[in-house]
């Protein structure tokens, strides 16, 4: 008997497959290194393919739902693939695939060649599974589990190698993540206490019936939990303290994805569960502070990774701004920006990793003349850097334009102020990036011979980095692919922005999601 597989049943694959692969890899242990890499890449490649299929299906048929274990919602857990979730899933899958290729090329797993257990790949895969689950989950508690999954993977990746700097950064990161999880848990308890359910679709129906202050209490507690994860000011300080020390692929994928999972959750939360209300205004002011404080932080940095971490915080503000507008146009801009930002921020961190590998440092005061020394790296840095700064016609500009249009269309002085702040942020991002470019890539070259042992600048207890000229081709290829993906958003700006707009429309309407999950006969 040929088992039939409706497309809905594929929804769990982007979560399940990486978990299975992680299990298999652990069971294999440290043996068969080549096979390990193949498993990782095939798994992530398959996830990407499935995500694309889901996106196409969700686009043509509306939200798809799978009820895990066959238990109908709200009794069991369901996964929902609508336009928004599948869109971000496709982008995140593409990005994780590239980052995994980068890690394989960079032989991060070989650093632990003789270690008793190869944990880099399993931790990475578990994190990827968590990210996918967070995007797809139709259940608030399961969203919590998804966060735990991705966080547990990220703890391991962040402290990978166990240098003192990484342990210290890991402590900051872990404690803040735990604080966030605790708040999330409280919110879950309050939510279940007040509504008697945790299925998002049912919550969407029940929250509006609650007394205002209870609703606000849940909304704000969840928002606070997600704000920590998304690094929204004033809950953003942990990020630049912890991200830069991690291994490059980890930082890159954290920067690209993890904060965006927080943003995604905020979008889902605000649009599905709590449309309207005073929180959107609060979000706008938070966005303002996040943008400006973040970008000023970037201006103040002399280290590429730290500078990028601050721009990361700053640009989270853009997305929050779009959500705070709570209009269809605003959400469209936010969604488009999420897609853009995942890609470009990851690319930048990966390129910076190449710089570090080649020159042993990412401090702009100790770099110079990279444009002449390594023109390819220079191009690979410059293009996403300009993209991040919102130089047209790249996606950073298109996202910014959507937000500016949405803000000005919304009218009123708060939105106007935010538009102005957004433009100032854009300018200062360009300034910060250009300053770094000017010092590290221009200016007089400093000759760094291959094999030079570069001692860590600060007394971090970090192992000295050994420079190398032999950057594997696969490294360059994976980064180039990511940069090209970022540029492709320009070519595909039409369909992509239309898709983002339809996704925003679907979110604002709420009904398609609720109906798809709870059935038509309500």
């Amino acid at each position: 008997m040929e088992p039939s597989l409706p497309v809905e049943s594929l929804i769990c694959v982007p979560v399940l497959l990486p978990l299975l692969a992680a299990g298999v890899k652990l069971a294999i242990g440290g043996r068969l290194r080549r096979l390990q890499s193949v498993i990782s890449l095939v798994t992530l490649g398959l996830s990407l393919a499935v995500s694309v299929v889901l996106l196409v299906a969700a686009e043509s048929r509306g939200p798809l739902v799978t009820y895990l274990g066959g238990w109908p919602s709200p009794i069991g857990i369901c996964l929902v693939a609508d336009r928004l979730s599948t869109l971000v899933l496709v982008v995140s899958s593409a990005v994780t695939f590239c980052v995994m290729a980068y890690s394989v090329a960079n032989a991060y797993d070989e650093q632990e060649h003789d270690a008793p257990m190869a944990i880099f790949h399993p931790a990475f895969l578990v994190m990827v599974a968590g990210v996918a689950d967070a995007f797809l989950s139709g259940d608030l508690f399961n969203l919590f589990v998804a966060f735990e999954l991705l966080l547990s993977g990220s703890y391991v990746l962040l402290t990978f190698g166990g240098t003192e700097a990484r342990i210290r950064a890991g402590a900051t990161y872990t404690l803040m993540a735990l604080a966030s999880s605790m708040l999330f848990l409280v919110a879950l308890a309050v939510t279940y206490g007040a509504t008697g359910t945790l299925a998002l679709a049912q919550l969407a129906e029940r929250f509006p019936q609650l007394p205002e202050q209870v609703k606000l209490l849940v909304e704000l507690t969840l928002l606070l939990a997600f704000a920590i994860k998304a690094a929204i000011f004033p809950m953003s300080a942990w990020l630049p303290d912890s991200y830069p020390t991690a291994p490059t692929p980890a930082t890159a994928v954290f920067a690209g994805l993890l904060t965006k999972v927080g943003v995604y959750s905020i979008i889902r939360l605000e649009a599905l569960l709590f449309p309207g209300g005073p929180v959107s205004t609060l979000l706008m002011w938070l966005a303002l502070a996040t943008m400006l404080v973040g970008v000023l932080g970037a201006v103040a940095q002399t280290d590429l990774k730290r500078m990028l971490s601050f721009t990361l915080v700053s640009h989270i503000g853009y997305m929050v701004f779009g959500v705070g507008l709570s209009t269809r146009a605003g959400l469209t801009g936010a969604i488009f920006y999420v897609v853009h930002h995942i890609t470009v921020q990851t690319s930048l961190f990966l390129v910076t990793g190449m710089v570090e590998r080649r020159f042993g440092t990412t401090s702009v005061t100790r770099l110079g003349g990279l444009m002449r020394a390594t023109p390819l790296i220079a191009v690979l840095f410059f293009v996403p850097a300009m993209n991040l700064s919102g130089i047209p016609p790249m996606s950073g500009f298109l996202g910014k334009l959507l937000l500016v249009q949405a803000g000005l269309a919304a009218g009123g002085w708060p939105a106007g102020t935010l538009v102005a702040a957004g433009l100032v942020t854009s300018l200062l991002t360009l300034y910060a990036v250009a300053k770094a470019w000017s010092r590290a890539f221009w200016s007089a070259p400093r000759v760094v011979q291959a094999g030079t042992v570069v001692e860590s600048e600060e007394d971090t207890g970090e192992d000295p980095t050994v420079t190398t000229t032999s950057l594997p081709a696969a490294l360059t290829v994976s980064v180039t692919a990511l940069v090209a993906l970022g540029l492709s958003f320009t070519v595909l700006a039409g369909p992509l922005s239309a898709l983002a707009e339809r996704a925003a429309g679907e979110l604002m309407a709420r009904e398609p999601y609720i109906t798809a999950v709870l059935g038509r006969e309500r």
């Binding site: 309050v190 007040a194 359910t197 209490l217 004033p234 047209p392 433009l423 200016s443 039409g494």
Partner: protein
């Protein structure tokens, strides 16, 4: 049009490759796209106007690939492409043959030419903005062509910062305009101007003025002279700086008659014209002299187009062409002089004119056009300008003053470059390559050759100028308009210019004394101030202290409570509070609360661990009292395991509780406030519910499905997806943790300790601790209970479906059995007790769980669909077989592996490190 732009892009991308193979000859190839565009321009002009193309790009943001060529656009296209070709040819000779930056230079130049072409043909404001910013970026790269020079890096940054600031203002202005008009199509806006908010106009103008280096944004242009001279000729004289002028000209038909538009553009333009000219009189560097001259002329152009009448627009359109021709020529001349004589300083150059008569002639011809001498294009344009402004006395006065200054700095330039100066030795001069001379001479000659076409040009341009609603003073564009007021003014200006030049020494001194605002200083003060502010703010926000961050989180939590009540109204306070339902509850609560308070004062880490453990046990008791033995059992087991782990870790980890920076009462207060908010939240939530919770349906559903234990049904079936996730979390965290312990060690094997206690006496375990650490009774108990407990764990695993138990509880029980053997017998005993790699156990466990989920997907209806069947087994009767058991087995194995790994890492490995005396 799109094809041409793509051609430019392709050429730009290929440039480095071409340059590497062909060297400077590659510039000939790179000149092909602009040349093709030039031909296309001519064809468009001949075929008749307007041309238009439109392709959809991103309709959501109303960004369309809309191109349109009207007379104004065609003129700009011709200038941009024609001068582009000439400058590329010139560059081939100008740049050193072996320069490693050739490819970069050529690529960026072509890319710039393409962007400029797009800019002048775009018929969509947003598309125009795209090309606008692209020219900014390419200009940035070209100014920084010599990246090792600090001056050029700073100049590049300055140009980027100023033009982008303006650009971003302009973007906001464009969006406001587009939203007011309902379209971003430039031609539609010009044809039917919307009522636009004044702020939008100011924003748009800001962008245009910044790009065209109008006061107060002028400072970037003279600094940009750090670029190679052909770049200056093309970008900073003929093309890019004209973008701002072009925009003012382009939007003139729409907004030219708005008072605000004029009030901003005209005065600023005139101020720039005069200040720039005045500043040029002091320069001794020929290139900077020209740069200030350019600033001055740009001011002139902006004033003309900004005045917003048909007449001024016509004069502006003529001046646009004239300026591009003479200014590009003069820059190229500077390049030749610099190349041949090795200097650009007026004080060092002498007798160059005699050595290079033809170059000098070209320069004089262009200079004459700049100063406005008949019968050159510059003259015709200036006459028209003066005539068009006859109604506006202030503007007229400004223009006359500016013209006088122009004449003066023209003379200064020609004198400085070519004259034989007394007391200065004649400069030896190298031969000038034809590739450099021909474009220069061609552009210069055009200034003369095109003059007779002036009236034809006026006729052609009427299609553009006619769109202005204000006709203005009637104006003629001819080579010779006869004697009249304009000619008189012209002559007066020239005479004044000659006088100014003659008195150049006192003028230069006066210029040095007179406080002309130097916006360069202002710019750097702003930038440094920004840098300083950024550092201070970041230092304030980014404290790097985890306690601070956590405190902030707690404050925010309190804020959540306050905000909710403030905006949501005071909560209903008629919450029915039941003190307790069973007498055990208050007792346990007091116990838990006491433990919590004790934890605050715990100084010794192990004490803290025990107290926190008590909290856990208390919670377990509450579960039990509420009728949930499964949860209670699991909580008890987990707490116990946690205590063991704590004790193991604490051997190497002296936790210093640390003291917060805040005084104790404040911290207590904050803690209490958080407690109040969270407790209040819980009570409020309960009181707000008026529906049956879904948990009740779960119980029914589980019973219908045949499960007798709702908790297990939840864990391994209804919410098995969560279980899969959480067990994975445990696995990953354990591995991550132990990997840190095994960091410096390559072997996972437990190495037998040196035979330091070859005890002949019989012992109960495979290995044993040295005498003194060993407790015989413990050994015995460990030995006797081990298999029984393991059996119990398997029992728990399998009864889960109907009774108290489950994979997780079973796993922990088995783990505890192993822990006991380790504690009794030491690390060697651990190796004997479970000779399997923990990673393999966990891996197999995870594979089983995830695999079961997948089986459900492949053979059932959905992932995690548990397939079940009842099998009749002899003796045991009917046995319910379900893939749920496999799933639970996965969890069971994972948990055992986890415990084992923790014991190995935090137990055995730490033992070894302590024995070996390795540093912590």
């Amino acid at each position: 049009m799109e094809l041409l732009l793509i051609l430019h892009a392709v050429a730009a991308v290929c440039a480095p490759w071409l340059a590497a193979r062909m060297g400077r000859a590659s510039f000939a190839v790179l000149a092909v796209p602009p040349a093709a565009a030039f031909v296309h321009t001519l064809w468009v002009a001949v075929r008749g106007l307007p041309m238009r193309e439109a392709t959809a790009w991103a309709p959501v943001m109303q960004m369309e690939l809309d191109f349109r060529a009207d007379p104004l656009a065609v003129v700009m296209m011709a200038l941009v492409t024609g001068i582009g070709v000439l400058v590329l040819g010139y560059s081939a000779a100008y740049l050193p043959a072996g320069d490693e930056g050739l490819g970069r230079y050529g690529g960026v130049m072509v890319a710039f030419a393409g962007s400029m072409l797009g800019l002048v043909t775009a018929d969509n404001l947003l598309l125009l903005y795209v090309f606008w910013e692209l020219t900014t970026v390419f200009s940035y790269l070209l100014i920084g062509y010599d990246p090792e020079s600090r001056v050029s890096r700073q100049a590049a940054m300055k140009a980027l910062a100023i033009t982008t600031s303006g650009g971003l203002c302009m973007l906001a202005g464009f969006v406001l305009t587009g939203q007011a008009a309902g379209t971003y199509r430039v031609s539609a806006i010009a044809a039917d101007p919307p009522a636009v908010a004044p702020v939008a106009l100011v924003l748009v103008l800001t962008g245009a003025l910044a790009k065209s280096a109008i006061f107060p944004f002028s400072t970037w242009l003279p600094a940009a002279m750090a670029a190679p001279t052909p770049v200056s000729a093309y970008l900073h004289a003929a093309a890019m700086v004209k973008a701002g002028v072009y925009l003012v000209a382009r939007l003139g038909p729409a907004f030219g008659d708005v008072a605000l538009w004029r009030a901003v553009a005209v005065p600023l333009g005139l101020v720039t014209m005069v200040l720039g000219g005045w500043r040029a009189l002091r320069e001794t560097d020929l290139k900077r002299l020209l740069a200030y001259g350019t600033v001055s002329q740009l001011g002139f152009l902006v004033a003309l187009f900004g005045a917003g009448t048909r007449a001024t627009a016509l004069a502006g359109a003529a001046m646009l062409v004239a300026h591009a021709l003479f200014k590009a020529t003069l820059f190229l001349v500077v390049g030749i002089v610099d190349h041949a004589a090795g200097s650009r300083e007026t004080g060092e150059l002498s007798g160059v004119g005699r050595a290079m008569p033809w170059v000098c002639a070209a320069a004089v011809l262009a200079g004459a056009s700049m100063a406005g001498l008949p019968p050159l294009v510059g003259f015709a344009a200036k006459e028209a300008a003066l005539e068009s402004l006859l109604d506006a006395p202030f503007a007229l006065a400004g223009v006359v003053a500016g013209s006088a200054l122009t004449a003066a700095y023209t003379l200064r330039f020609l004198w400085g470059a070519f004259a034989a100066k007394p007391g200065v030795a004649a400069r030896p001069v190298r031969r000038v390559p034809a590739a450099m001379f021909v474009p220069t001479a061609l552009l210069s000659a055009l200034g003369l050759a095109l003059a007779p076409a002036a009236s034809w040009y006026a006729g052609t341009m009427s299609a553009y100028t006619g769109a202005f609603r204000d006709p203005g003073h009637e104006t003629h564009l001819v080579v010779w308009s006869g004697f009249g007021l304009p000619l008189l003014l012209s002559a007066a200006a020239l005479a004044a210019g000659v006088l100014l030049f003659a008195a150049r020494e006192p003028v230069a001194r006066a210029g040095a004394v007179l406080p002309v605002p130097d916006s360069s200083q202002v710019f750097w003060i702003i930038v440094r101030g920004l840098d300083r502010f950024a550092v201070q703010l970041t230092g304030l926000v980014q404290r790097g202290s985890v306690p601070d961050y956590l405190m902030l989180t707690m404050l925010a939590t309190v804020g959540v409570g306050v905000f909710s009540v403030a905006y949501g109204g005071a909560p209903r306070l008629d919450v029915p509070v039941v003190a307790w339902q069973r007498p055990e509850q208050p007792v346990i609560t007091v116990l838990v609360a006491a433990a919590a308070v004790l934890a605050l004062f715990a100084r010794a880490s192990i004490f803290l661990a025990v107290v926190v453990g008590m909290l856990g046990y208390g919670t377990a008791l509450l579960f039990l009292v509420h009728g949930s033995p499964d949860l209670a059992l699991t909580q008890f087991l987990a707490e116990t395991l946690l205590l063991v782990v704590f004790a193991l870790v604490l051997r190497r980890l002296p936790i210093d509780p640390g003291r917060g920076r805040l005084p104790f009462p404040v911290r207590i207060g904050l803690g209490l406030a958080v407690g109040v908010v969270l407790t209040g939240a819980g009570m409020l939530a309960g009181s707000a519910r008026d529906v049956v919770p879904v948990g009740a349906h779960m119980a029914t559903a589980a019973r219908e499905a045949g499960a007798r234990n709702i908790v297990t049904a939840l864990i391994v079936d209804i919410r098995a997806w969560d279980t899969l996730g959480e067990s994975t979390v445990l696995i990953v965290l354990t591995l991550g943790l132990t990997s840190l312990v095994f960091l410096r060690r390559r072997s996972y094997r437990i190495e037998p300790k040196e035979a330091e206690h070859p005890s002949a006496e019989p012992h109960w375990l495979a290995s044993t601790l040295p005498r003194g650490q060993r407790v015989l009774a413990f050994d015995v108990v460990a030995r006797l209970t081990f298999h029984t407990v393991l059996l119990l764990s398997v029992f728990l695993l399998f009864v889960g479906h109907s009774g108290v138990g489950g994979g997780f509880a079973g796993g922990i029980v088995a783990g505890l059995a192993i822990a006991v053997r380790y504690l009794a017998g030491g690390r060697n005993e651990l190796g004997v007790a479970l000779p399997v790699h923990a990673g393999v156990l966990m891996g197999v466990g995870l594979t089983l769980s995830a695999g079961t989920a997948l089986i459900g997907l492949l053979f059932g209806s959905a992932a995690l669909d548990m397939l079940a069947t009842d099998v009749s087994v002899p003796l045991a009767g009917h046995v319910h077989l379900s893939t749920g058991v496999l799933f639970d087995l996965g969890v069971y194995l994972s948990v055992i592996g986890m415990v084992q790994d923790v014991l190995r890492g935090l137990g055995a490995e730490l033992d070894r490190q302590i024995d070996a005396g390795e540093g912590s």
